[in-house]
């Protein structure tokens, strides 16, 4: 899927360069973070002069230089992974099993594996720079004097450190999936890159430090319980270890924990900075020409680019550019409203308008279909189209379409169950752990009350969709088991989030379109906008109707838990609210600008009634 995308001119000419620039900046920042790390790793409160002089001598050491080279490599790989895995439309898993599928997906496994390995490399560099007891894997068993031929022991500190790196790398990758770290959201305001980075940096540092603290805690617990197996694995059993670290006293070594935390912070900070820079560079506004006099450049002009389906980032940047030009640039708006030179057709406007309207009506249709699914309690007919639609986006996200589509049926099966389950409170939306706490698997309610319901519903569903009754019975049997129920239960609100996952595009389309229409009141000399006004209004009103209906569904209007940090971008969770607000603003922008003139626009009576509400400021 990516190979076809990579040949696109935009990916080759813009995205690659942006990604490269972001990696270059992260590499340039690496010496700074490394120096800071070296300073802090030698920290001693009581010998400040020794501390500073030691740190300086360390900085010039060949180990640090070598580590830097290695770390550059790591950052490069992280950058490549960022580029490969980023998405502008997040995949929102609707059930636990879908989330599990995401985690276990081969692509994700590669991500985790590589990040674990890079974690080991980073902590190896950190251990080398700290030196001392983390120097080497094997150490003489007795510390008194180096007698030749002495028995070598395992330096468990070293092993502990390297495993910590692997653990942190893995947890970075895992949390990345759970928290949708690969999702790239666009800023509401256009700040320059340096200021954005400067504003975010303190938050990223704090976030990395806190995450590292959690990782250290989890890792220590992990090591405490599984530490004995680790040296079995490495066949070091015959050598006795110098210090046992899988004991409480062994782990309560303050200096060790400090170094571990610092290394973890260093690791996460370098990776997070790379990620942050990547996001900042990739979401920078790109200005597409509205029209070109050269035929070879026509494919790079805004009207053409807008209508392309792939790559998604191109579509998003084009819509953002449309939004910006509609708001800020008179001369570019004039180009949009202009007529083609021979012929006098408003090709630019027609193409832009058509694309925006098709986006909006797609969303309306998607919403209506979803409402039908919910209303019919998951009967099969709308299912196929629905799953197809979702899978197009999930394909681009590198999700397991196979798992999803096969599970889709069960999800639908559990829709009505999920909606009626009292435990699926709106507040348990995104946080997995809280949801675990809410569901009471031992409750007898599941078995007794739900099973007849499922029995009644099940065959109907499956005769209609696949006709394989046997399979349905198996599913019914499974559905009664508590664990399966838990895994297949719909996460509340998630389906609503998934529906609006790509709504940033719709918001821009709405804003851009309404701004252009409002500007046309004064700037459109040829009246090209007026011809489209009826269809624009009716599309928006249809969407308004669908959105209003959607917000009447349970869980749709409940607010998600706000994430605490900048890097865990949860913008997609509130996109439906943003879309609703943008839609109203767009409608009002048009009605305020045109006022009474809208009465002469052709439209159905129902729409006119709705529009009247807007004109009286009653929406």
């Amino acid at each position: 899927m990516f190979n076809s995308e990579q040949n696109h001119w935009f990916v080759r000419k813009v995205i690659f360069w942006r990604a490269a620039a972001s990696v270059a900046w992260s590499v340039l920042l690496l010496p700074v973070t490394t120096a800071l790390f070296a300073f802090l790793s030698r920290f001693s409160l009581f010998h400040p002069i020794q501390w500073i002089s030691e740190s300086f001598s360390l900085l010039y050491g060949s180990y640090v230089i070598f580590s830097l080279v290695l770390l550059c490599g790591v950052v490069l790989v992280v950058g490549v992974f960022n580029l490969e895995y980023y998405t502008v439309v997040p995949s929102v898993p609707c059930t636990k099993i879908a989330l599990l599928g995401k985690v276990l997906h081969p692509q994700q496994s590669v991500h985790s594996l590589v990040h674990s390995m890079m974690g080991i490399m980073v902590t190896w560099c950190a251990a080398t720079m700290i030196g001392g007891r983390y120097w080497i894997l094997a150490a003489p068993c007795s510390e008194e004097e180096g007698v030749t031929g002495q028995k070598m022991c395992l330096n468990e500190y070293y092993l502990f450190f390297l495993l910590a790196g692997a653990f942190m790398g893995y947890s970075y990758s895992l949390l990345g999936v759970v928290r949708n770290m690969n999702y790239v959201s666009f800023q509401t305001i256009q700040q320059c890159k340096y200021l954005r980075f400067k504003g975010m940096l303190p938050q990223v540092v704090r976030y990395s430090a806190v995450q590292s603290l959690y990782s250290v805690r989890n890792y220590c617990l992990f090591y405490f319980f599984f530490g004995k197996d680790s040296d079995c694995l490495l066949l070091y059993t015959k050598h006795s270890s110098l210090h046992r670290l899988d004991t409480v006293s062994g782990l309560l070594d303050f200096r060790l924990l400090y170094h571990l935390w610092l290394s973890g912070t260093f690791l996460l900070l370098t990776w997070h900075i790379t990620l942050l820079l990547f996001r900042i560079f990739i979401t920078e506004a790109y200005s597409f020409p509205v029209q070109s006099s050269f035929s070879e450049d026509v494919s790079q002009c805004l009207p053409k680019v807008l209508s392309e389906k792939q790559p998604l980032i191109l579509k998003f940047l084009a819509l953002q550019d449309l939004f910006l030009l509609s708001q800020q640039s008179l001369s570019r708006r004039m180009e949009v409203f202009s007529l083609s030179q021979p012929g006098g057709h408003p090709h630019n406007w027609n193409a832009i308008c058509k694309e925006c309207l098709s986006l909006l009506s797609d969303l309306s249709q998607r919403l209506v279909e979803y409402q039908e699914v919910v209303a019919s309690n998951g009967r099969a007919r709308p299912l196929s189209s629905h799953s197809d639609q979702r899978s197009t986006s999930s394909e681009t996200l590198g999700m397991s379409t196979l798992i999803i589509s096969s599970l889709m049926s069960l999800q639908i099966l559990s829709i009505d169950i999920g909606l009626k389950t009292p435990s699926s409170s709106p507040f348990s939306s995104s946080s997995v752990n809280r949801f675990v706490g809410n569901v009471d698997p031992s409750s007898p309610w599941y078995g007794s009350v739900q099973s007849p319901h499922v029995m009644r519903r099940g065959p109907k569903l499956w005769t209609a969709s696949t006709g394989r009754l046997k399979f349905a019975h198996v599913k019914n049997f499974l559905a009664r088991r508590v664990l399966i129920m838990y895994l297949f239960n719909k996460l509340p609100e998630a389906s609503s989030q998934a529906l609006f996952a790509d709504s940033q595009a719709h918001i821009w389309a709405l804003e851009g379109l309404s701004n252009l229409v409002a500007a046309s009141y004064k700037e459109d000399r040829f009246g090209v906008v007026q011809t489209m006004l009826p269809s624009i209004l009716s599309t928006m009103l249809l969407l308004q109707e669908a959105v209003d209906k959607h917000f009447k569904l349970p869980h749709a209007s409940s607010k998600p838990v706000r994430s605490t940090c900048c890097l865990e971008d949860s913008t997609f969770k509130t996109l439906r609210f943003a879309l609703r607000a943008a839609l109203k603003t767009a409608m009002y922008r048009i009605t305020v600008t045109f006022g009474e003139h809208l009465h002469s626009v052709q439209m159905s009576a129902e729409h006119r009634k709705r529009l009247q509400q807007f004109m009286e400021y009653k929406e």
Binding site: Q187, T188, I189, Q190, Q191, C192, L195, G199, Q327, Q328, S329, L330, S331, E511, N515, K559, R562, T571, T574, L575, F577, A578, R580, A581, A582, K584, T585, Y588, R589, V592, E616, Y617, K618, E619
Partner: protein, 520 residues
């Protein structure tokens, strides 16, 4: 050059200013002398005595309700949550001997002393940081004598005949021309309301700057409920960003700015997503007042020290404007966004800044002028009226420019000690194109004994301009200015003369220009 000396003297005592017609302000005793045209906004009265303010100061009564037998851990955790590090240190320092070892108490009290010393040093740099948050709101509010005023904030809806009033008892009432119900908004967090603003291009959203958060109410205009539940309000808060003293919606309704005098960052809120982007600039010690230009291209942000910034909203960069005397108290933009009038605390003048952009393609802030020009001198002038001498003049508390750019109302701070120098509203006639001109119009008087506290223009009054004034006795009155807009003739396709009424009359009356760009 004293601008006020050219003004016609204020009307006789006991009379109130009713309206402006034929280029002069008409005074009278009752409103009966004018024919009604369309919807008349209600003149409301909120007597100070009927409103009960919150008498509890912050956290003074809290100790009485807390269980003191809690363990140290519980109390420390609560102190940390409520007031951060200093609260925690204070809690530990005040512990008894048997709970904590002696060295810890001593260490904590020392750290606390050090912390206080550092913060007092910080406070000496920025004296406003030593104020309590209520005093801070009073200091930086646009309302004159905010803490004792019955009406604390007022906001007209930008598109329809509807306004919101915030009262001393922390409630907000909404009056609508189309419905008889006047909903009252109350919320647990709605305390010390410093500013209100309706969201543009929206019928229902009202942003409220509160004591420690921002509230965005969604008041359904078709609802008949008189007490919308607090579930209709979105709470937007950011640590360290309180009290909020000023808010500003972008004219296209997409973003909300908020400012707090203790936070050097100005917040750009995406209200639907409840997320914010801090725009941090060190220097100034906070942000006190925000004003978004009507065309949306620039934002004025003043700070508590002698410095203000003008942000441009394409890439959010700012230019710094240091003032000589004091902080920028207030400012207002011309309707086309090219001119900014502002006043500085400690000076009795109005300054103007001009931003000239190439038409269509604003080049950010490259086109602004190098220095601000003085356009009006508001120093003290005495008028002899039938009741004797009246002295008028002083510093500017707040200013408002009507949406057509033809009337400028300036609220002058009086002298609370001198009874013959009350707070006054001076109204100027203004013209923006082709050149900027300022002419005297008159003083707006209220009922006897009532001082103006707050003023705002109606955003779309059809027959001229409508000035809404909140008075110290709790009265909200509306003063219409009837005139034919000079800009209105441009829209007329007929070949009407370019300057129909105001200019010819100005010449007729022998009025003198106070300020014109030509002369400067």
């Amino acid at each position: 050059m004293n601008s006020l000396s050219l003004f016609p003297p204020p009307g006789p005592d006991g009379n109130i200013t009713l309206f402006e017609s034929n280029n002069e302000l008409v005074c009278g005793t009752s409103l009966g002398s004018r024919q009604k045209q369309g919807w008349e906004p209600p003149s409301l009265l909120f007597p100070r005595e009927s409103l009960k303010p919150h008498s509890r100061p912050e956290s003074s009564s809290k100790a009485a309700f807390l269980d003191h037998r809690d363990t140290l851990w519980m109390r420390s955790a609560r102190a940390w949550r409520d007031s951060g590090l200093s609260g925690l240190l204070d809690e530990i320092a005040n512990c008894t001997e048997e709970e904590v070892p002696r060295w810890l108490t001593v260490g904590c009290s020392w750290t606390l002393a050090l912390l206080r010393w550092v913060s007092s040093f910080h406070g000496s740099l920025f004296p406003h940081l030593t104020l309590s948050s209520e005093d801070m709101v009073a200091e930086f509010s646009q309302v004159l004598d905010w803490s004792d005023c019955a009406v604390r904030a007022f906001a007209w809806h930008p598109h329809t005949d509807k306004f919101a009033v915030s009262l001393l008892d922390d409630s907000i009432r909404i009056y609508n021309s189309k419905s008889a119900t006047a909903p009252t908004l109350k919320h647990r967090l709605q305390r010390n309301v410093a500013a209100l603003q309706w969201k543009p291009l929206c019928a229902s959203a009202l942003a409220v700057a509160c004591h420690n958060c921002l509230l965005v109410w969604h008041v359904d205009p078709t609802s008949l409920s008189t007490r919308p539940s607090s579930g209709c309000a979105q709470v937007l808060s950011h640590p360290g960003h309180c009290p909020v003293t000023s808010i500003a919606w972008s004219p296209n309704g997409s973003l909300l700015l908020s400012a707090s005098p203790v936070d050097t960052a100005m917040m750009v809120w995406d209200v639907a997503g409840e997320s914010c982007v801090p725009l941090q600039r060190v220097g100034g010690g906070g942000v006190t007042f925000l004003s978004w230009s009507p065309d949306g291209s620039r934002v004025l942000a003043s700070t508590p020290s002698a410095l203000f910034r003008v942000w441009e909203t394409r890439t959010w960069t700012c230019e710094r404007w240091p003032c000589l005397k004091g902080r920028c108290q207030t400012g207002c933009w011309s309707p086309d966004g090219t001119r900014l009038l502002f006043s500085v605390q400690g000076e009795m003048v109005i300054y103007a800044l001009t931003f000239t952009d190439a038409p269509g393609e604003p080049h950010g802030w490259s086109g602004s002028s190098k220095a601000a020009a003085i356009v009006a001198d508001l120093s003290e002038t005495s008028f002899s009226t039938s009741q004797g001498q009246v002295r008028v003049g002083g510093q500017v508390q707040t200013m408002a420019w009507d949406p057509r750019g033809e009337r400028l109302a300036v609220l002058l701070k009086g002298d609370p000690e001198a009874p013959d120098r009350p707070a006054m509203i001076a109204v100027f006639k203004t013209r923006i194109s082709p050149i900027f001109e300022l002419l005297p119009c008159g003083f707006v008087k209220g009922e006897s004994g009532a001082e103006p506290r707050l003023l705002q223009f109606h955003p779309h009054f059809p027959n001229g301009a409508l000035l809404t004034v909140c008075w110290s006795n709790g009265r909200i009155s509306h003063v219409p200015f009837f005139f034919v807009s000079a800009g209105g003739s441009v829209l007329n396709p007929g070949g009407s003369p370019p300057w129909p009424l105001p200019q010819s009359r100005a010449v007729e009356n022998g009025e003198r220009l106070l300020y014109t760009e030509m002369s400067s």
